[in-house]
């Protein structure tokens, strides 16, 4: 029986791969629009095309600070924050939009930063966990997470807190049921959920404006 298998790497379709493909397609399209036929020909080679369009300018405000950056178009907002801006408070749990650890606010709305390309945030205002406190003074949600012990290992915590702040701002924290629904995108493997709910309820009841 000939049972041999040739395997050039894995053929799993993970998001990383598809994100790359998307970018390849989009940069290739961009190349079509602006470049000479010679370059389009080179476009058959993904890597060369990628090299051609290696960086794009990006104006972005992060935690109140304006940045003028140049980024590769395939870089996610999460990687931009962590690798380029060295804001490692935003965590990577899955890179697939499935855990919520990477939650940040963009123009006041929460998003999974692993699902957003950095360049899509041109001109926007990003707030990360590092931008929540006012110097040494903690944000009320941070206080509440401490008060209610809303964590164990702490790895999901920045995402939980960013999500929790948005949950209240969106008006989605009027009761426990609603909080559960609107916090369901944030996974905590340590199972600190009951305390997370308590923390949010507490802040909501306190009526602090966030």
């Amino acid at each position: 029986m000939d049972n041999e298998k040739t395997c050039p790497g894995h053929n799993e379709t993970n998001l990383y791969a598809s994100r790359r493909n998307f970018l390849r397609t989009s940069t290739a399209l961009a190349a079509l629009a602006v470049a000479s036929p010679v370059i389009v020909k080179a476009g058959e080679n993904d890597e060369k095309i990628a090299a051609l369009f290696e960086k794009m300018p990006l104006q972005i405000e992060v935690n109140g600070m304006a940045h003028s950056l140049s980024v590769e178009p395939r870089v996610t907002l999460l990687d931009l924050l962590r690798e380029q801006l060295h804001l490692s408070g935003t965590k990577k749990g899955c890179d697939h939009g499935q855990c919520g650890a990477c939650t940040v606010h963009v123009n006041g709305k929460r998003i999974n930063s692993c699902l957003s390309l950095a360049v899509m945030n041109e001109g926007k205002k990003v707030t990360t966990i590092e931008g929540l406190a006012n110097g040494d003074k903690l944000h009320p949600m941070q206080e509440a997470f401490i008060k209610h012990d809303g964590f164990q290992c702490g790895y999901c915590t920045p995402g939980q807190i960013m999500s929790a702040v948005a949950c209240i701002n969106e008006g989605h924290a009027s009761n426990e049921e609603e909080i559960k629904e609107f916090m369901s995108g944030n996974i905590c493997r340590c199972g600190a959920y009951p305390n997370i709910v308590d923390a949010i309820m507490d802040v909501k009841k306190g009526g602090q404006s966030l």
Binding site: P8, Q98, Q152, S184, R189, C190
Partner: protein, 752 residues
């Protein structure tokens, strides 16, 4: 006291492996792993990948300077496959590149030709074919063969539990840095820094003192980083060794799920015999543990299955045999409970089966057989039992009778929804079952300004162990917590550590810290006694002041420390602790392996939707034996987290491999872990506070693993709810009880 990491956690300032600032010139690693579960490597072509832009070097088995071996208990697992692959996800090559992206792009250009060999995924099949990791082991007490005659009722059956993915939110990873004179520092997200150090030394053929492993904290471990964090540390070190460059590898989620082992699935047979008073007279069990392709920690996990096979019950005649079966899955490994839960599930299934047949509630049998102090476990240790105390308290406190009535009323008046309830007593032994591992050390320095630095072998992974260590030091010195700092876990400060596991970390390292602090305290008191012309017993330290003969002196803590230093007396101590009285005779399978046991009882209630099969846990009511909890906030958190994880294992977490040994549940989208909805609507935890002496640190009993066992009750509550709808349902004892399975059993046998 609050978790000492609270402030940095909520600010995103706590540093995990992937947050360590990288130094210039850092290279990035990625592993090329086997696409098939079993086979012979015919060829491996890395040329195209190696020539790619940004790729620095690709390492294979040939590049291992020492022993290409990472097996901790048994040397049966290669770091990089040389001739054969034994599971999908087995590392074959290590790509090192200038960027993470370049490394991953290169992976796709590696070509391997593998001649497939037969794949085994089922442990019973493995046993049939003689594929065992170690010889089987049997625990025995009394004589089951003759005991069956004394039984009024005898029942037999089979019980299965699936595995469980750890899904620590921080994936595995390591970062290694070259040091002068060829030493290597490895930052590792590991529960066992010494294991990383020892294995690195072995693989690189260098002495252990050349390898420094440092661990600040983990974003969750749950056992998944006890042994299986080693691979990544060693991989990075291998590259650093050859390239003299810093090398980092932080696994992607799907790589992590694909390449690492999980909780062991078990398939088991049971036979239980009861007399007419419903006392369990005899119990036999055969466990087929799905070990995966290599030993990893499987022999130790299997051992704990046997230790806990009778859960919280006294059974005079027991024979339990376990087989650790080699299959072509990633080597399964430690996971909170460490084989104990798998063993307990089986006896609970046996009791449920008996109860069903006799038309009574399982709780009747459970209650009648709870361990009493002095009862002997099958392995010879005598119980210091709190089983009845926990059970009785739960029944009284939560008004079991009323609960039962509410449920039967509800079930009477509802068609679409049914409720089910189960009680689950637990008993869990604390200590490493391998006696040798029950040792720990702590290094305490008091600095001349009165601040204190503590280093231990404990790894912080959310269980709050560092907070407890800090409590020990502040308590003994009677100083402000702000004066004490707990340092990262580092093999250069603390050598030969046991992994942070077996729920024993706080006890072992806490006692070592206590010993070190007390030794320094003794010296301090001696200095004060001389100064105040009294004896040491008459010196007290209270809130940073020195008291002599009960009188407050002029010396505060800082002065005392400085005066001691001035007299050239050491302000440092290295404490060493081993729990007394622990021993085990492997030949006889008898001994006293545990420092103590933790007991508890849970009452779990669930409501199922009989149209859809979905369900919701109404309440989890616990009475738990904490001893004398030294940190109730942390201990409650551990309890709640353990319960949620246990319920997850029993209900929704379903690991699926195909016949070819490929993991199908390979991401968070296909593997469901408890989300915020899965938490029971009500969790009550009552502290059974006992003043009895025990070997726990400050008499505060270990709390990491035991609460997970409560989750087993969730399975039986669901089963009872299904039975309320469909009394004739023949539900196999096969966890997890997913909504799909609930739905199928609601309408089983299916009538057209």
């Amino acid at each position: 006291m609050k978790n000492i990491d609270s402030y940095t956690h909520v600010r995103g300032e706590s540093v995990y492996l992937d947050d360590i600032p990288v130094v210039n010139g850092t290279l990035y690693a990625a592993v090329f792993d086997s696409p098939v579960a079993h086979g012979k490597i015919k060829s491996l072509d890395i040329r195209e990948a190696a020539a790619m832009h940004g790729v620095v070097k690709i390492f294979t088995a040939k590049d291992v300077p020492g022993d290409n071996q990472i097996g901790g208990i048994i040397p049966d697992e290669e770091l990089l496959a040389s001739t054969h692959v034994h599971f999908c996800g087995m590392p074959i090559a290590l790509v090192v590149a200038e960027t993470d992206e370049a490394a991953r792009v290169a992976l796709k250009k590696i070509k391997v030709v593998i001649e497939s060999l037969p794949v085994i995924t089922d442990p019973r099949e493995a046993k049939e074919k003689g594929e065992l990791i170690i010889p089987s082991r049997t625990f025995q007490i009394g004589d089951t063969i003759n005991a069956w005659h004394q039984c009024e009722y005898v029942f037999e059956g089979r019980a299965d539990t699936n595995g469980q993915e750890h899904l620590y939110i921080e994936t595995q990873g390591a970062y290694s840095l070259p040091q002068e004179n060829s030493a290597i520092r490895i930052y590792s997200s590991t529960q066992g820094p010494t294991a990383v150090q020892r294995t690195t030394a072995r693989v690189l053929n260098i002495p252990m003192h050349q390898v420094e492993v440092d661990t600040t904290r983990l974003g969750g471990g749950f056992g998944g980083k006890e042994d299986q964090a080693t691979t990544w540390g060693v991989m990075c070190a291998l590259a650093t060794y050859h390239l003299k460059k810093p090398v980092k590898y932080s696994l992607q989620r799907m790589e992590d799920m694909r390449m690492t082992g999980k909780r062991h699935p078990y398939s088991s047979d049971f036979k239980i015999g009861l007399n007419k008073d419903l006392k369990i007279v005899a119990y036999e069990a055969t466990f087929y543990q799905n070990a995966g392709a290599a030993a990893d920690l499987s022999p130790a996990v299997m051992e704990r299955t046997l230790f806990h096979c009778t859960n919280s019950y006294f059974v005079p005649n027991v024979k339990a045999t376990a087989y650790s079966c080699r299959t072509n899955l990633p080597p399964n490994t430690a996971f909170r409970g460490f084989g104990g839960p798998q063993g307990m599930f089986v006896i609970e299934a046996a009791i449920a089966k008996a109860a069903d047949a006799l038309g009574i509630s399982a709780s009747v049998i459970q209650q009648k057989n709870l361990l009493q102090t002095g009862d002997e476990f099958p392995y010879g240790q005598k119980a210091e039992s709190e089983a009845n105390e926990c059970w009785d308290k739960a029944v009284e406190l939560y008004d079991l009778e009323k609960l039962q009535k509410e449920i039967s009323d509800f079930n009477h008046s509802n068609k679409q929804y049914k409720k089910g309830m189960a009680l689950m007593p637990i008993c869990f032994g604390i200590s490493f079952t391998k006696t040798m591992m029950n040792q720990a050390r702590a290094l305490v320095h008091v600095y001349t300004d009165g601040s204190v630095g503590v280093s231990t072998g404990a790894v912080e992974m959310g269980q709050g162990v560092n907070t407890k260590m800090l409590q020990v030091a502040t308590n003994i010195f009677s100083i402000d917590p702000a004066k004490v700092k707990i340092n990262s876990t580092n093999t250069y400060r603390i050598a030969n550590t046991s992994p942070s596991a077996a729920s024993a970390t706080a006890d072992l390292n806490g006692k070592a810290t206590e010993i070190a602090c007390k030794e320094i305290l003794k010296r301090l008191k001696k200095v004060a006694a001389e100064e105040f012309k009294t004896s040491e017993e008459n010196i007290d330290l209270k809130d940073e002041w020195v008291y002599a003969n009960g009188e407050k002196t002029m010396w505060e803590w800082k002065r005392l420390v400085f005066e001691t230093y001035f007299r050239r007396i050491s302000l440092s101590e290295h404490g060493h602790y081993t729990p007394p009285d622990i021993h085990y005779d492997l030949k006889k399978e008898k001994g006293h392996p545990f420092a103590y046991h933790v007991y508890g009882t849970v009452i779990i209630t669930v409501t199922i939707d009989c149209l859809r099969g979905i369900y919701e846990f109404d309440s989890v009511k616990v009475v738990h034996d904490f001893g004398n909890s030294m940190n109730t906030i942390i201990d409650i958190g551990q309890c709640e987290g353990g319960i949620v994880q246990g319920i997850g294992w029993m209900t929704m977490e379903e690991i699926v491999y195909d016949k070819e040994g490929k993991l199908l549940s390979n991401a968070l989208s296909t593997y469901k872990v408890p989300d915020i909805y899965s938490v029971p609507k009500e969790i009550d935890i009552h502290f059974l506070a006992t003043q009895k002496d025990n070997l726990a640190i400050f008499r505060s009993k270990a709390v990491g693993e035991p609460p997970l066992l409560y989750g087993i009750g969730a399975y039986f509550a669901l089963r009872n709810a299904v039975k309320a709808f469909n009394p004739s349902a023949d539900i196999p004892y096969d966890a997890p009880m997913t909504p799909e399975k609930v739905l199928m059993s609601l309408y089983h046998p299916f009538k057209k």
